[in-house]
């Protein structure tokens, strides 16, 4: 699951505290009547980034995107792109272009006219607009389909027309609303890398809204995880996955086992935690916790070890019974039932051809390295 983040630029400006953000979202709130869709969001995005806003439906990610495009006006706060406050600038005069989830291709225009539409609005001559549109179609490998109408294209081709149309005006920022949502799984995976290629070729800043965590992990330089109108955590894909800040983020990205526990007596270089499910375990020390405080331990399924015999050197180890297993090829996924009935998800990589893999109803031991526990207080 730890796919490498695709870094568009070689630098990571967000790690530099002095770097100047390209897009600055400052304390933006959007209310629809009583409902607060976006609640006091502040976010800096840098030039050339491929930033993913990730969250479930209704989390406010699309509203935030639509405020960037100018289709919604923030109730409070402001949005700056390249140092310019966009308040009061209508969508047709913003340096942004959007790729719509439904693609929103004009059904009465051919593919090339769709792509040229924005260029003609800029006051380009027809010949100029058409030749530029042809270039854009070449970039998305659709030059053969220029004369077709959108309804004569497949879903994947329409997606690329929408991308070409949105990129034709060379916007400072491209906003993509679930750009791969309507494609099937295989096409989606291919298109992810195609998107990264195009983004790197043009160097345009991309902001992608998605509910698909795999998509976000593959595409993004950084991810902003949203829920209920707030950004829970912003970080590189690896940060988000390895060091989630909250139970929500841990649970939303990948799968995770969460154990509730209380901080035990202090010890040097380690922290004892009293849990109901695992009994007493050892976790990495976290500053600022008091004894008896309730915390959660998050543990990724692939970090646990499953053995028949109790490993001698193991620090954290609990016995259980394999209740269910699934063989996925490169790995196997197990549901292990602990003594108190709690189910723990464990995945094991299938590296060699083991003669006698662990299977249903076997007595097993689940071991965890202390460092693989992520301690969460929120």
């Amino acid at each position: 699951m730890t796919s490498n983040p695709a870094i568009a630029a070689n630098t990571r400006p967000w790690r530099d505290p002095d770097a100047k953000p390209f897009i600055s979202i400052q304390h933006v709130t959007k209310r629809f009547g009583d409902f607060t869709a976006v609640n006091d969001v502040s976010l800096d995005i840098f030039r050339g980034e491929l930033f993913c806003l990730l969250g479930g439906s209704g989390c406010g990610k699309s509203t935030l995107l639509r405020m960037l495009a100018g289709f919604e006006t923030p109730t409070e706060g402001k949005i700056l792109i390249d140092g310019v406050d966009l308040a009061g600038t209508p969508p047709d005069r913003r340096p942004t272009n959007m790729m719509f989830q439904s693609y929103a291709l004009f059904p009465h225009m051919s593919v090339e006219k769709n792509v040229a539409y924005g260029l003609l609005r800029e006051g380009k001559s027809k010949a100029e607009a058409m030749s530029h549109a042809a270039e854009m179609l070449k970039l998305v490998k659709l030059e053969k389909f220029a004369r077709r109408k959108p309804h004569q294209l497949s879903g994947g081709q329409r997606q690329r027309v929408a991308l070409a149309r949105a990129l034709a005006k060379q916007p400072k920022v491209l906003l993509l609303d679930e750009p791969l949502g309507a494609l099937d799984k295989k096409l989606r995976e291919e298109t992810q890398f195609e998107l990264i290629r195009i983004q790197e070729t043009l160097g345009v800043t991309f902001i992608v809204v998605t509910h698909d965590q795999d998509e976000a992990m593959t595409l993004a330089t950084r991810i902003g995880v949203m829920t209920e109108g707030v950004i829970e955590q912003v970080g590189e894909p690896r940060e988000i996955y390895e060091t989630p800040k909250s139970r929500f983020v841990a649970d939303f990205i990948g799968s995770v086992n969460l154990f509730e526990g209380r901080v035990g007596p202090a010890a040097p270089d380690l922290m004892r935690v009293e849990t109901e499910d695992l009994g007493p375990v050892v976790a990495p020390p976290v500053a600022g916790l008091t004894q008896g405080q309730t915390i959660w331990l998050a543990m990724r399924p692939e970090r646990a070890w499953l053995t028949r015999e109790r490993p001698a050197e193991s620090v954290n180890c609990v016995p259980g019974v394999v209740q269910d297993m699934g063989y996925v090829g490169h790995m196997s996924s197990y549901m292990v039932k602990l003594a108190n009935g709690r189910l723990v998800r464990v995945t094991q990589a299938n590296e060699g051809r083991r003669d006698n893999p662990i299977s249903w109803d076997e007595q097993v031991h689940v071991s965890f390295e202390p460092a693989d526990f992520r301690v969460l207080t929120e």
């Binding site: 047709d92 004009f106 309804h151």
Partner: protein, 353 residues
Amino acid sequence: MSGAEVPRRAGLPLRMLAVGLAGLGGAVAVSFLTLNPTSALLLSALFGAGLLYFLLSRFMGWSDRWMVIAVPLLWLGIFFLVPFFVLGRISLSETMIARPPYSPLWETDAQGNVEIIASLQNYWFILGDALYRNAYLSSIKIAAISTVFALLLGYPIAYFIARSPEPRRSFLLLLVVLPFWTSFLLRVYAWIGFLRRDGVINNTLIWLGVIDEPLVMMQTDFAVYIGIVYTYLPFMILPLYANLVKLDGALLEAASDLGATPMVTFFTVTLPLSLPGVIAGSMLVFIPAIGEYVIPALLGGPDTLMIGRTLWDEFFSARDWPVASAVAIIMLILVVIPMMWLQAVQNRQEEGQ
């Protein structure tokens, strides 16, 4: 078409329902028979149709699809095709002082020879006479101008309703349809009260001091335009609304996102995509307006030349049924041909989409 094409089993509950309804209709029909002949007739027809439907589908293997088409076909056959042929037949004969006032199409002499005396002379007469030509042209002109005004007036209204928040739309649509609750004739008469010399409009304008002398509005083409546009406006608004309300808002956002001002968006996206609605609405106004009789008769003057009036005069003043029939047939052809052409164009476009 064989019954096997349609899954008959799936249609069975529907059929049972039809039979049930027909039975109910029959029962009610019998009870109404003594009270109200009209509703009894209607309910009996329902009963008969249901029974026929059941028998045909159950025992003859007629498919449901045929049955669905059969009803409008029957309607068109009885109320359009049969009168059309009757008119066509009369238009080929000569006028006679008789009852009915036209000649037969053939005569059998004493030897038993059949002589056909049908002729197209009425058509040649109409096409050669400037009076009829002008009446046709003027009808088309008045209908076309009225259609344009109805479109200019109806489009913004339909657009406004389609862009209104959902709960308000049905109320606004109700307002559009509301005039239909009064008789058409009464509504046209009401305009006389507005337009005549001492009518509401003139009185108001004189009272306001805008004019000293009352404007002559009644018995002019102007009044006819007002009458037609007013009467047929809902027929323009409804198809336009049905089209505009389907328009995907994302397309408008996309246009605006790509740099189009609202005005440019309207002319490059909204208007082209609403053309089917424009065509449908225009046909619904233009076609009945061509043959309009009541409005020019009530609001128009002696100069207002429309084919509907010519037709009326021919039938009832001149009592020349054959010429009147020929006038009607030519009018029908004038209306049907552009309609078929438009239909063909639309079909081709829909195939493309």
